[in-house]
Symmetry: C2
């Protein structure tokens, strides 16, 4: 019997080896308990949850450290858009089998990002599945009471602003799948690597979270495609919007793909996986937010304006004519 106590189950041994080092918050109790505690300090605890599935949200042979980073960062991106400061996360890991090498790389990537974003592991559950691997993370942030930024709140006249560049990740996925973008960018290794990197490792804009909280009237992160997500923000706010499509920020690599005719605007605004902040900002606050973004080193671009109405957002081309979007965003079902 003593031997059994010295040799905990495979599950417990894996947790102790790979995940205990990540549980740096005192409220995680070294992952030795059944629950964790969040000391709320009188603030609101902002809660968000996002799952990624092998073959759906990432490719089964993606590097394990990037899978871990993506799982955490898609949640960090939500906290950033809600104006919350990361406080920690819990992880559910469903695996077909426990492969030491995969887990070691996975835990390394997860630990590095947890440290980088100040968002320690608080607990989790490890289960077996006969299907594809799945990672579900619930992340916690702090915000002063009632200060979370909502999807609702956008008002006619507000600037519509977006961080970073749009459309990179969907082109990166196309390259990984050997699609038309891969062929068009043959030889341009820098562009290919950039786009693939944008698919593998989102760049959540947590550096801008407090400024978004101070200045935005509404915000959300772009995960399912700019067009669909803007439509959701508009519905929640009871408004509509007009977007000047040529203003949508795109990367040089994305521009190269566009120039070769293998992707159009519709692809960029409906592809998803951007994990940029989309926000509505009152005219009088737009300058302050732009300045804060500049200081934080985060690109921020005005792409349109909130208008009164209940129609879906319109996307206008360089001549001011409506672009017809057949598909607004990615849907699982």
């Amino acid at each position: 019997m003593a031997d059994q106590q010295q040799n905990p189950s495979g599950e417990d041994a894996l947790i102790a080896r790979y995940f205990k080092p990540l549980a740096t918050d005192p409220g995680a109790f070294g992952l030795l308990d059944d629950a964790a505690t969040l000391d709320a300090r009188g603030e609101d605890i902002v809660v968000t949850t996002d799952a990624i599935v092998a073959g759906v949200h990432y490719l089964p042979d993606d590097p394990p450290d990037t899978v871990a980073r993506k799982a955490l960062r898609v949640n960090l991106s939500d906290l950033a858009a809600k104006g919350a400061t990361p406080a920690g996360f819990v992880l559910t890991l469903a695996l077909r089998r426990a492969e030491e090498q995969w887990l070691a790389e996975f835990a390394r990537g997860l630990g590095e990002d947890a440290k980088l974003f100040g968002c320690p592991l608080l607990g989790g559950d490890t289960v077996s599945t006969t299907g594809p691997a799945m990672l579900s993370i619930t992340a916690f942030g702090r915000a002063p009471r009632g200060a979370m930024v909502h999807r609702s709140g956008a008002k006619p006249g507000d600037h519509i602003m977006v961080t970073g560049t749009i459309g990179d990740a969907t082109l990166g996925l196309d390259i990984l799948k050997g699609g038309a973008v891969a062929t068009a960018l043959t030889g341009d290794e820098a562009a290919r690597a950039f786009l693939i990197g944008r698919y593998h490792i989102p760049q959540p804009r947590n550096a801008l979270a407090l400024a978004v909280r101070d200045h935005a009237s509404a915000a959300m992160d772009v995960s399912d495609g700019l067009a669909g997500d803007l439509a959701k923000l508009c519905v929640a706010s009871g408004v509509s919007a007009v977007v000047d499509a040529p203003s949508i920020p795109i990367s040089d690599a994305c521009a190269a793909a566009l120039a070769r005719g293998v992707a159009g605007i519709e692809r960029l605004v409906s592809g998803g996986d951007d994990y940029e902040i989309l926000c509505a900002v009152p005219e009088a606050r737009a300058g302050s937010l732009a300045l804060a973004a500049q200081r934080a080193g985060v690109a921020l671009t005005t792409i349109g304006q909130v208008i009164a109405g209940t129609g879906a957002p319109r996307f206008l081309d360089a001549r001011g004519e409506d672009i017809t979007l057949a598909r607004l965003s990615y849907s699982h079902f």
Copy 2:
């Protein structure tokens, strides 16, 4: 375009139809936002997460409302053992396809239990998978600062107490799989139904949570088997234990299976899925906790004693001789 706004994606429509009615907490914002907030009111937020996978933790053709109840209740059971009052939960639902009838039944069961236990839905994520269905729930409870009951804290001399009865669920699973217990209990429909019910729908002991917080020195819920879970509590507390096996509470249905020779003590204490509270209680507090349990209508039984040492817990038979347990608990890997 306006039509698209009127016809949200399948995913959003499913959420609006089935899950929005469950989001009764103001912090859930009607599931229309990307995050929820927990107003912590100066207390600790206790966080726990547990996932269940079709074919691993439940059978794919189990009634959908029981699948929902089990997913929520395994988490409520953790909150109960930690001495926390339920505050809400987030749900990740990974499904191969969205079947309306399954989802309707699932949401009904989930909503009923959320109401019954005062634990409303705060948010979630719905994703597609090519594998078996999986439900991951992260549940939140409240406890005064620092008051969460830990696995550590058990002291030599403490009573080891357990709620309800042990071993029912593992026998229920055997019946569902058409095993030896099914054959042995042929004709005894009441016993079969009781054991299957114990597998399908755990009975978390949240009614006893505050009393556990007031009286127990250490506690956890029994999910992977009494023997293995007691071993974990002992390791965390730096103690050992002696259990009087004949004192372990079993149901009449379980006793019938034992009498027919199709299950032994080892099966009962290593099978898992009990979702009862296991706790260590100082001698002077055992009477008070027993009284509180009586008032709450929860059976509570002393099954042994904490002793000094670091060996695995010993289980003694009616003659005081050691029972050799080859397997302490269920392990996923």
